[in-house]
Symmetry: C3
Subunit: 233 residues, 3 copies
């Protein structure tokens, strides 16, 4: 079967520490449920997809809090990127502050064709250096050159631009986002799961393996972001 995971963290679904922990627990339950082969990831409130990093968690806190927060971000990424389920993102809202961390861990991305919606990543604009593993995810999805500009300039894309650069796979009218996500899911689930899962794991293994030292990555984040986020805001 297919599960639907809906983000809900008013007002803008931002990835607070609490939200990250809740997501990791939900994903673990779904991962262990053998009856579930695919997960559609979407927002409960059309119009606001968000799930951006929560600047409040990264601003004016002590280093231990920064470290705890970043560890939770890593954990979510690792769970999603190594999932044995087929993941399809049904992007039914905007990323006002940009980060597309979660959609990029999915096998397929469907986005609503609404000129008010954007997707991308504004990390550098708020003084954050995207971690290397997110950079690798982006290089895998884009071309290296597009990833260079997007990451350094903190670019946001409208739906049609996102399609062209390859950040999403399909753009459809907003009322068709869910049904398209489900039919894409059906296509992926038609593949013998043993072969599909091993193939996916082979494709992404190198990217995951690079995060073997999570501590170094946490320290780099705390070191580079502590002052610069506050300065940029």
């Amino acid at each position: 079967g297919v599960a639907v995971l809906k983000f809900k963290n008013p007002p803008v679904n931002s990835l607070s520490l609490g939200m990250l922990m809740e997501l990791v627990i939900s994903l673990e339950k779904l991962e262990n449920n053998k009856a579930i082969r695919g997960i559609v990831i979407t927002s409960e409130r059309p119009g606001i997809f968000a799930t951006s990093l929560d600047l409040m968690e990264m601003c004016g806190q002590n280093p231990a809090h920064y470290a705890e927060y970043w560890k939770a971000v890593q954990e979510l990424w690792l769970r999603l990127y190594q999932s044995n389920k087929v993941l399809v993102a049904a992007i039914n809202g905007a990323y006002p502050t940009g980060e597309c961390l979660i959609p990029l861990t999915c096998d397929y991305r469907v986005m609503a064709d609404n000129p008010k919606y954007t997707i991308g990543l504004k990390e550098t604009l708020v003084g954050i250096v995207a971690p290397f593993w997110f950079k690798d995810t982006l290089v895998n999805t884009f071309r290296h050159r597009s990833a260079e500009c997007t990451l350094q300039l903190g670019m946001l894309f409208l739906p049609t631009e996102a399609l062209q650069v390859g950040i999403v796979d399909q753009v459809v009218p907003k009322e068709q986002v869910q049904s398209t996500a489900l039919s894409v899911m059906a296509q992926w689930m038609a593949i013998p799961d043993h072969a599909q899962q091993l193939t996916k794991s082979m494709m992404w293994k190198l990217t995951v393996d690079h995060l073997v030292s999570r501590d170094a990555d946490i320290q780099f984040f705390v070191f580079t972001s502590r002052d610069s986020i506050q300065k940029a805001m």
Copy 2:
């Protein structure tokens, strides 16, 4: 001079163990022939290019046979991918079961513009996990993202789609496939061969180096394919 290597293994040119061994011997002879600088690879029977993996060799056999078969597949790939000759694929037929292993080892691919022809790879559909070195060849030719979808979903492409995704370099009317292949060959042979060969070897070295442990790859193939191929068929 330019040699033309024509596949011939009725009815569909599939890569049986015998065919693999014959190809390796033919390639070794050509490789050692200093008078030959380029090889056009094509099918003797227009309409059927094929050279797909032979499911009969991978179904209901004992593990030792699986291992022997896979070693021969590796050997063919290594010979082709490390060839010092300029290789041009003149694709004058369909790949009914898909695998494009051989064309992707060539320096250039010309395909006949026939809507009955397709090229791609259906490995996952029959329960096979493509080996990492074939994945790497695909990532080098496509974008990483296109390779993800193609490999996981076992996709086949019509000639125009194949051109767009980059699996072939040129699509021409079927009666021009051979002449186009030869004029492409002339273009490549105009380059000082010393510089061209060293440049090619530099581009592909990393991909080849990853296969240093052929045994691990053979065992992975036997382990992952033994049951799943039969189940999928």
Copy 3:
């Protein structure tokens, strides 16, 4: 502030050993100047951008001279590719002999739309094997597949072709090259420099790290180029 670095080495701005050394010194001064955040790289003489490798330095000289020359080429590339400044290439002329080493180390490339101008690299045509680090720069900018053909065949591109393949980012009328370069620069300089520099360094680090053994690369160059350049000319 923004500095403008103008090439000037009549008649065709080629990268002689003297010119390389002068460039490295100029770059070091700019790099140490904290008031400078960006550098526009251009030619003093519109019509001739050039800055190609100087074949006179690589032809009929003794091995020690080859080695000294190549070390200087490495040094220039390392300085540019690791620069903490934003680099924008304002390509206001042709590369008659092709190499696009310097523009490819920049963060952004603007080229004049003149059908007499070309950009690319003709290394193999004159018997030179491009070094692996230049290959990596090219793969980062292009797709792997485009880099294969471009490097092996020694291809040159007209401005519109260069844009399509991704070797330049923007093509504009020749009288707008400088102003476009400056407005691109303003866009990059709007990013908090701490975050932008660390992001850039993360993107390119792997490519730079590969050149840890400069001696092996020098010896490979001397060995492969000594006879073949003279033969090709």
